[in-house]
Symmetry: C2
Subunit: 204 residues, 2 copies
């Protein structure tokens, strides 16, 4: 299911792992076992270090969760925020198409963190905050779909809310099935997805 871990990255002058490597392994464990079932002890064991060595880099398990979710959310917020701000310079259809393509690229480049984000259930304050940021994104995306329908660029016989859910449901599904080591790179998947989706959404 998971490829072999890459060799651990060494911190500058300090033997062992740097924060990025600890975080990478934590996210992999969270995705494999579930966040609630993973302890700092599990993480230390996976890395072959002591628990204090982990606490040298992070203050808590929730700290690791926040770092990972922020990684995914900051990238997605930049993509969606950019499309909202560009409202003057391009039509809603072009902006939506750009958001879909760039979302695929973010998902592929940050797949473990986005996978974790998509599984968040709101069991902790960090998760509740992440769900609020996801809702902000979903609302902006739904508004962009409505604007594209309103400007006559998308079919109007399917409710815009369902279009938004199905379109980004298809994008988000990549977190579960995309394999970086497989046949198709991010550009190939982005091409296929945007062609299928926007041909399906074309006004007829």
């Amino acid at each position: 299911m998971t490829a072999a871990d890459p060799a651990p990255r060494r911190g500058r002058g300090r033997p062992g792992y740097d924060q990025a490597a600890v975080l990478r392994t934590a996210v992999e464990l969270f995705n494999r076992k579930g966040y609630d079932a993973t302890s700092i002890g599990d993480l230390a064991k996976e890395l072959g270090v002591t628990k204090p060595a982990i606490y040298h880099h992070v203050t808590s398990k929730e700290d690791l969760l926040r770092l990972a979710l922020d990684d995914a959310l900051d990238e997605l917020t930049a993509v969606v925020g950019g499309a909202v701000e560009d409202a003057g310079s391009a039509g809603a259809y072009e902006r939506l198409r750009g958001v879909v393509r760039r979302s695929v690229e973010v998902l592929v480049a940050h797949q473990p963190a986005v996978t974790l984000l998509l599984r968040v259930r709101g069991n902790t304050p960090v998760e509740v905050e992440a769900l609020e940021r996801r809702r902000w994104l979903d609302d902006r995306l739904a508004a962009l779909v409505r604007a594209a329908v309103a400007e006559g660029a998308l079919r109007n016989d399917i409710p815009a809310e369902l279009v938004s859910r199905l379109l980004f449901g298809m994008v988000n599904s990549l977190a579960e099935w995309y394999r970086a080591e497989g046949t198709y790179d991010a550009a190939a998947v982005a091409d296929a997805l945007t062609q299928l989706a926007f041909d399906g959404l074309a006004r007829r």
Copy 2:
């Protein structure tokens, strides 16, 4: 995030919960906290009964997982197996369209169990077996997509493997966003999804 639980069903003559009610609550907990993080003790606490009362109905936590995954897999296998067996009576396109529609209906009717199935990672023998059954389904669906492309009913400028992933990725995404108490029933979602997907997949 989750609606209030329905009133517990009473077993015949025995006070407390029957197996179906125990299973329903177990699946809800597995989806909320993750399977690995949920104990029989958590389940007993959630139901307000003792652990022995749980063991009256099931032998283990893994037993509950197997029952839930079999529920989802048996339904999906019936849908996909039926389409494969119908090969003589209808074209691949019509069978694929039927499978997509019926998959949406199964997902809506068995949403908690399908959600659990889609999150399985293979950490236990029961999960490994479920992943094997899922792979069988995925292979049959991919073959059906290839057959529909080969008969000239679907566009052939997107690799059939990607079409299959994107199409069923969109279907599976319902597990995450569909709300039974929302505006759209299973038929409305199935209509929207099949129209969007098959218009997008039409040969041009």
